[in-house]
């Protein structure tokens, strides 16, 4: 095909697009998506906001907010939440930055292994990590028992807010690590080399050149950590810290009842702060140009470390990885432990807990796979559709879909759950007579809505990288629009869609904030709730840990399989080309 022809084709296409900006089918899909988001995100959240400002008879009032700020406990919770989220970002940075910098910018053996191990914390529910960390770093944990024996000192690592910060930082630092690894690998090494030619080296080079260039990745990761920590409910609960916002909202709603307005005020504040964090991260990057001319690994020259530097770097990384993996080691030990009480290691080992789990709760394992699978499927379907509508059509107001879906990122799980309980109170699922709020469906919906932003981002990215000329070629060859989408667009977006599926699935499988409030019955409970439940009795501790190990194994296996699938698909595509 000649260039002239192709140009003419594009011209015809765009004129056609001008005449008719969208097809009825596209409009219908857009309306369906909007209806879904309205029903399960906007209205429940709006309801929560409304209650926070409403008198029982319907009038507007600020008095609930006055009551809230009048309570010194609430003010304290508010500051504690900010403090914990902020400090967690600082500690997560201290862990993530060296890992990312050393493994990306230097010749480093085992870089991939380190980066993979670095993601492991994400696939364990943070509150499970907290239980394990108590046993290792707690008052009478292994570390303190050893220290007490040797030096007669003990470190209050797990006491109160310290413990929450420690657990959260260890759990969420991979968000910074992953974003930073990508950002660092995209830096043009010419920048670094110019700086070196001009005499910069060592820490100065990192501080003045490398880190500023990687700033977008860092800020994206850091703001995500802030939001996640701000929102987390399970960890403070397990560590008996109640004077923070998320636990207070939970305690208020579950013990005073769904009528208590203070719970709604807390919810509104949590939304506002999540929004501020995300907005600030966008603002920090605005008006700066981070684009570098050359991208990608090819231009990247990894520098080598001097022997003493290497020793330091490896030592530090080994230490960090050991720390990062302690929750996993702890939970593994606990799942095999007979009795583990006031001793460095368990007294004896057994397989009994795994037997208990397989006998009692195979249903929970299946539930997790099933719920998170459906939720992730909904997410990639919605994500692909939204991405297509935004990038390939000129539907009016199409960007509001993206905005609505992404807004879910700023809605804490507790708040969404409260919104659901309030909005759908007494509503039955047609034909089953079952209440929506006490069925498993509500969990699936909550997971789908909360994880949609992840799937959407990867679908958007996948479609952006796909040049429109491929679709035009298909259409020139006679394919209609549906065929073009199903045969060309979706298969070529495959990698991105799969990545979105995995991200949604993984994070939904370990979520507890909404789960704990929305789960009503044990037979519909997913694993994360099951672990929480098991941990409520002396004999159940080992079984809970065993279930935790299984959860980690399932998520890890899923991630590995999808990566493998992704790679073989990529190979297929290469053969095609």
């Amino acid at each position: 095909m000649s260039t002239a022809n192709a140009a003419a084709g594009v011209h015809v296409q765009s004129r056609a697009a001008r005449l008719k900006r969208y097809t009825p089918a596209q409009l219908a899909i857009a309306l369906l998506i909007a209806a879904f988001l309205l029903a399960f995100l906007i209205i429940p959240v709006a309801n929560v906001v409304y209650i926070a400002f409403a008198e029982p008879d319907g009038g507007f009032t600020l008095s609930h907010f006055q009551s809230f700020f009048h309570l010194s406990l609430m003010r304290e919770s508010f500051w504690n939440s900010l403090l914990v989220a902020g400090s967690s970002v600082v500690f997560a940075t201290l862990i993530a930055v060296p890992l990312a910098y050393f493994t990306v910018r230097f010749q480093f053996r085992g870089a991939l292994l380190i980066q993979t191990l670095g993601v492991l914390p994400l696939i364990m529910p943070p509150f499970v990590g907290a239980v394990a960390m108590q046993l290792i770093f707690g008052r009478s944990g292994s570390l303190n028992l050893l220290l007490k024996d040797a030096f007669d000192i003990s470190l209050p690592i797990m006491d109160g807010l310290n413990g929450v910060i420690f657990v959260e930082a260890l759990h969420y630092f991979p968000f910074i690590l992953m974003n930073l690894v990508v950002a660092l690998s995209n830096i043009d090494s010419a920048m670094e080399e110019s700086a070196q030619n001009l005499g910069a080296s060592g820490f100065r080079l990192f501080r003045r050149i490398v880190f500023p260039l990687a700033m977008p990745g860092y800020v994206a990761g850091a703001s995500l950590v802030f939001v996640k920590v701000f929102d987390d409910l399970g960890t403070p609960l397990v560590l008996n810290v109640t004077n923070m916002l998320a636990p207070q909202a939970y305690l208020r709603i579950t013990s005073v009842g769904i009528e208590d307005p203070i719970g709604y005020v807390i919810s509104v504040l949590m939304i506002v702060f999540s929004l501020i964090a995300l907005w600030a991260s966008a603002l920090a990057l605005k008006g700066r140009d981070y684009a570098t001319l050359q991208r990608g690994g090819s231009s990247l020259a990894r520098r080598s470390l001097k022997p003493w530097q290497a020793l330091l770097a490896y030592g530090w990384i080994a230490l960090v990885l050991l720390l990062v993996l302690t929750p996993h080691i702890g939970i593994l030990l606990l799942s095999f432990a007979n009795v583990w009480s006031f001793s460095v290691l368990p007294d004896a080992y057994t397989m009994q807990h795994y037997a208990t789990v397989f006998e009692d709760s195979p249903r929970m394992i299946w539930n997790t796979v099933f719920y998170c699978g459906i939720a992730a499927l909904i997410d990639v379907l919605l994500g692909t559709a939204i991405a297509y509508l935004i990038l390939r059509t000129r539907l009016p107001l199409r960007h509001s879909l993206d905005f609505m879906a992404s807004a879910a990122l700023a809605i804490p799980g507790v708040v969404l759950a409260i919104g659901y309980l309030r909005t759908f109170r007494g509503i039955e699922i047609p034909y089953s007579g079952e209440l929506l709020t006490s069925s498993w469906l509500i969990l699936v919906i909550a997971y789908a809505v909360r994880r949609l932003p992840y799937a959407l981002r990867s679908c958007m990215a996948a479609l952006q990288q796909l040049h429109v000329s491929l679709e035009e070629a298909a259409q020139n060859l006679g394919a209609n629009q549906r065929r073009t989408i199903t045969r060309i667009v979706v298969p070529l977006m495959g990698g991105g869609i799969l990545a979105g599926f995995v991200a949604s699935f993984m994070t939904a499988a370990v979520e507890l904030s909404a789960t704990i409030m929305l789960t009503t019955s044990q037979s519909y409970a997913p694993m994360s709730y099951g672990i929480y439940l098991y941990m409520q009795s002396a004999a159940g501790r080992g079984a809970g840990a065993a279930l935790g190990v299984l959860a980690v194994a399932i998520v890890a296996l899923g991630t590995y399989l999808s990566h493998k699938l992704l790679r073989s698909r990529a190979a297929d595509l290469d053969r095609l080309v």
């Binding site: 029982p56 009032t61 008095s63 006055q66 009551s67 809230f68 009048h70 309570l71 010194s72 406990l73 108590q134 046993l135 707690g138 008052r139 009478s140 944990g141 109160g160 609960l237 008996n240 810290v241 109640t242 636990p247 305690l251 579950t254 013990s255 005073v256 009842g257 769904i258 009528e259 307005p261 203070i262 007979n338 009795v339 583990w340 009480s341 006031f342 001793s343 699978g373 459906i374 499927l377 109170r425 007494g426 089953s432 079952e434 209440l435 498993w440 199903t486 979706v490 298969p491 009503t520 019955s521 044990q522 037979s523 941990m535 409520q536 009795s537 002396a538 004999a539 159940g540 501790r541």
Partner: protein, 443 residues
Amino acid sequence: MKSTLFARHFAVAAAGIALTCGTVHAQVLAIVTSFPKDLTEVYKKAFETRNPGVKVEILNKGTSAGVAYVREAPANNKPDIFWASAPDAFEVLSKDKLLQKYDGRNASVPARIGSYPINDPQGYYYGQALAGYGLMWNTRYLKANKVPEPREWADLVKPVYFGHVAVSSPSRSGTTHLTVETILQGEGWDKGWSQMLQIAGNSAAITERSFGVPDGVNNGQYGIGLVIDFFGLSAKASGFPVEFVYPSVTSIVPANIGLIANAKNAELGKKFIAFTLSQEGQELLLDPKISRLPVLPGVYAKAPKDYPNPFGGKIKARVNFDSDLSEARYYVVSSMFDQMITFRHKDLVAATKAIHDASAKLAGKNNPQAQKLLAEARELAFAPIVGEGKAKDKEFLALFRDTKRDSERTKKITGLEEYWNSLARKNYAQAVELASRAASMAR
């Protein structure tokens, strides 16, 4: 190719939905309970094998969350059974007409334990197991920290226990509420609160869940915990290095089971209740993982040696628990505990430490002025912020009992809570100052 993949996904999803909907049509018995999985799983299995085609659905909630859940479930879709420890929760439920009255007694169950009726005299709910409150401790922890074994609540106020105790909060745990009420009723309002404040001041943590206490004692984080008996007994039976005693200021009260009004499956619910009260159902309580005290005296013949028997007179329960009194001041006690102790724990611990330090320095010295300061510090730190008179005031109690919260009431209650909270903080800070002044006088 992609479309077949999607088709397969949908098939899986559809099959899953069909499967889950299929179970809805079996006869389902919904039980709201605060009991751990170890207990509910045993009963669920036993009942399902005896009644093929029946599915037992366990809704696991904390006691107060469970009450809220029953209250807020729509009238045409109520769960069937409420099963929990705290008698006051049942009082609340039956007062709000959320329980169904019927005669389902097992005639072999005695009418009373001590002076406490085992079954609700009005017939709304039935005692299903007995529970006493006491102290459990980790033997390894106490040995390593050279702390003596306690026998009575009053032991725990001693300086030697500073930092070694753990309690939960009554607003979070129905059983802790009972423990606190037992102490308040056994010792009287002012003395009881003073003891409670001193114990809390010696505590390493106020745990969020009632199980947080035995869990922490089991794994050795805390030395001693205030717990309901089966937490201690079942941990011991599971092999943990722990011991449990009933102090003399304890009460034996029934853990109850009741049919919820407008239950979807009332007949099945009655059948389940009858099963839990039968010889067979009572024997399940002796399972080492459960370790609860049956209400049927005959069952103790099958119990292992050393199993506590409340009918034999071995447990001396000095307190005759008054559940009307407990129910009337339920929210006040919970709220006071939270404002004075749970949320101000750090300050209370600081005050307690300063007082212990000062009294250690003053020990054996004759310094009336310093002793006076120390007594003032104690008074500030360990006296309840609401006196006994006010705690009997009906209007005051009514303010807390109504769960409907308009902005006026919310303002009133939050105002009161704020007042308590900041008063407690001020008192503790002042106590620290007085105690250190007293200590500095000791020469």
